[in-house]
């Protein structure tokens, strides 16, 4: 892990989106993936919030890493994370009050995301600020991508609308916006992601 300085930024970002996609590959931080994805706007905002917290936490930890005693690193990481989550929570309540009413609890619970703590521990505490920033950006974009895809399908099928604008003139599949639909959507998309991945990896191995 310590030798990752020579890995390019592009690879770091791609790693977060494809190889270690938080939701589809690692199956971590799933709670908001289902809770807020019944509309595209909420899913996207949640993704942006998580990306912001992840990037800022990674940068802060990376800057502070030589001052943190390894014994107490986890409590310090938690403090840094909850500080940035509080900032996100308050800005969200101030700038997007409508969305905050529906997803406030889940924004506050970003603090309990295993993926953010894991990146701080595995990457940011061992690397310089720039790689840490790009690592956070990659993980964040991967998360945002997953949430956007899930909420795209759920809102389109469940309400026949996108971003609150009705575009399909058909009777919607109500089940997709119900809690159960969230689980179905994530399960099916995960399987799809696995399937595409297996196709991709089998074609690359056959070329070798």
């Amino acid at each position: 892990m310590a030798h990752q300085d020579n890995i390019s930024y592009k690879e770091l970002i791609l790693n977060g989106i494809v190889k270690e996609n938080t939701i589809f590959k690692l199956a971590l931080s799933l709670c908001p993936a289902i809770a807020v994805t019944s509309s595209l706007r909420n899913g996207f905002l949640m993704g942006v919030a998580v990306m912001f917290v992840q990037v800022m936490v990674n940068m802060t930890i990376s800057l502070m890493r030589s001052f943190i005693h390894p014994r107490i690193r986890l409590p310090i990481f938690m403090l840094v994370i909850s500080g940035w989550v509080t900032i996100t929570d308050m800005s969200m309540a101030a700038f997007a009050p409508d969305a905050y009413k529906q997803m406030g609890l889940y924004i506050q619970l970003i603090v309990a995301f295993a993926s953010i703590l894991a990146r701080a521990e595995m990457f940011a505490s061992k690397n310089n600020i720039m790689p840490s920033m790009f690592d956070g950006l990659g993980m964040g974009i991967g998360f945002m991508f997953a949430l956007t895809v899930i909420s795209f399908f759920r809102e389109l099928l469940g309400k026949g609308a996108l971003w609150g604008v009705s575009i399909l003139n058909a009777k919607p599949l109500l089940i997709m916006v119900l809690p159960a639909g969230g689980f179905f959507a994530v399960g099916i998309l995960m399987a799809l992601f696995n399937w595409i991945n297996s196709l991709y990896s089998s074609t690359t191995t056959s070329h070798h």
């Binding site: 989550v85 159960a180 639909g181 399960g187 995960m190």
Partner: protein, 197 residues
């Protein structure tokens, strides 16, 4: 403080089946999918969870009402609650290691993960947001624990069979677990509207 037992019972039922944490609020999913592979761990986990949740609900109620409101620092609730929860989990970790060592080794890493678990943190946050009184907070914590236990045990009993089933390759593991959870969630929608608070 006058206790209203009807309301407490309603709160417990509402928190456990109607607004079940896993199936309608989608919290604690990492643990839910992580430990529901075996019945034994599921039972142990749900007992620990319910106990920690009730204790953390009452501890954070005192801190919130007697410390944070008088000092006007309610905006720090995320940081303070996570501290309380982490301390309590550390305590229950030590107690379990002394009292039931074999169960402790089975639950292993998940017990440590409780401290950063969203359900345990969500209970004090919801209690503070809804301005529940002391007994209501405990009832809510208890109901949520029962609800989580219910979800874990149902899922564990299904998954023990699911291991033997022949599912399509891309669906193996997590995806099929999600679809199964969706089906249970669908059944749980039947409880909605049972009680309105």
């Amino acid at each position: 403080m006058k206790a209203d037992f009807t309301r407490l019972l309603e709160l417990i039922i509402a928190a456990s089946v109607i607004n079940n944490f896993v199936f309608t609020r989608f919290l604690g999913l990492c643990i839910f999918f992580g430990v529901s592979k075996k019945m034994e761990t599921a039972v142990g986990m749900s007992i620990t969870f319910t106990a920690v949740m009730m204790v953390s609900a009452s501890a954070s109620w005192f801190v919130f009402n007697y410390l944070m409101i008088p000092l006007d620092i309610t905006f720090l609730k995320i940081i303070i609650f996570i501290g309380i929860v982490a301390a309590l989990v550390q305590a229950s970790d030590t107690i379990m290691r002394k009292l039931t060592p074999d169960l402790y080794y089975k639950l292993g890493i998940y017990l440590a993960l409780i401290s950063t678990n969203c359900i345990i943190l969500a209970v004090p946050l919801i209690n503070a947001g809804e301005h529940y009184n002391f007994l209501e907070s405990i009832a809510f914590g208890f109901g949520s624990g029962i609800g989580f236990a219910l979800a874990l045990i149902i899922m564990a009993s299904i998954r023990e069979k699911l291991e033997l089933a022949d599912v399509p390759a891309p669906f193996k593991g997590m995806p099929i677990a999600f679809v199964v959870t969706g089906l249970i969630a669908l059944a749980f929608t039947g409880f909605s509207g049972l009680i309105t608070i």
